[in-house]
Symmetry: C2
Amino acid sequence: MSGISDVLLPTVTTDVFSALANPVRRQLLDSLREGPRAAGELAGQFSLSRPAVSEHLQVLRGAGLVREEPRGRHRYYHLQPQPLAEVGQWLHPYEHFWRERLRSLRDVLDEELS
Amino acid sequence: MSGISDVLLPTVTTDVFSALANPVRRQLLDSLREGPRAAGELAGQFSLSRPAVSEHLQVLRGAGLVREEPRGRHRYYHLQPQPLAEVGQWLHPYEHFWRERLRSLRDVLDEELS
DNA sequence: TCGACGTGTCGGGAGAAGTTGACATGTCGG
DNA sequence: CCGACATGTCAACTTCTCCCGACACGTCGA
C-alpha cells in the first residue's frame, strides 16, 4: 500500500545544492544507492564521530534526499533521489558546453601530438 | 592561436560542488552562458555589493568555472564549463533512480485521480 | 597630466556549519 | 526488569561563509 506522500517530497528545508556541497554527504548518498543502511553502519564507513554523521544525515533529510525508517532499535535510511532531478535540470543546459570543450581538447591534443 | 592551457583546467582550488552551493554563483554562471560579461555588468544584476559579487566570481574562478579577460578598464568573465562534467558524472548513476520515482509518481496520481 | 571610472582587495562583523564529548531515549535479550 | 546496544540531541568551540564599507590600482578621456 503506497500513498502519494511516499512519492512527493516531504517538507524541504535545505537547498539540494548545499546538501551536495559536502563530500561526506555525497558519499553517504553513494552508499545508500546500494540499498537502505542503518545509521551506525553508515557512520562506520567514515572516520567521523557518530553525531557528525547523524547531522549530515539530517541535512540530507532536510533536502528531501533521504528518508528514515525506524525499525526496532535500528534506524534505516533510504535514498530519496527525486530532488536530484533539480540538479539535473540546472545542469542540462551546460551539457553541450562541456562536450564541446572536450571535443576541442581532443582536437588540440591531436595537434600537439602530431 | 590556441594552446593546450586554454583547454585544460587552470589550478583548481575550490570544489565544484561547493562553488555551486550558492544561488548567486549559479545565477552568475547562468548569465555567462549567454556570453562574456564585464564584472560591473554582472554585479548590476544582483542586489548585492560589488565586492560580494567580485568574491563570488573569485570562488568560481577557484573552481575553474570561469576565466578572466582583462580588457582596458573592464574585466570580462567567460564561462568555463568543463568542471561541471564532474557534477554530471556524479549525478549520472542517480538519473534512472529519479526517473523511476517520477514514473511511480505518475502511477500514484493515476490511481488517486481515477 | 588629472579626474572619473571600473575593479580587485583588505578588515571586520554576523551568522551558519562542522566537530566533539556528554547525556537522553527507546529497544532488544536474558 | 535490567543491562547492553543503537541512535538522537544538546552545549560549546572552532572554522567557514557571506556580506559590506573603505581603500588601492590601473585605464580611459580631456
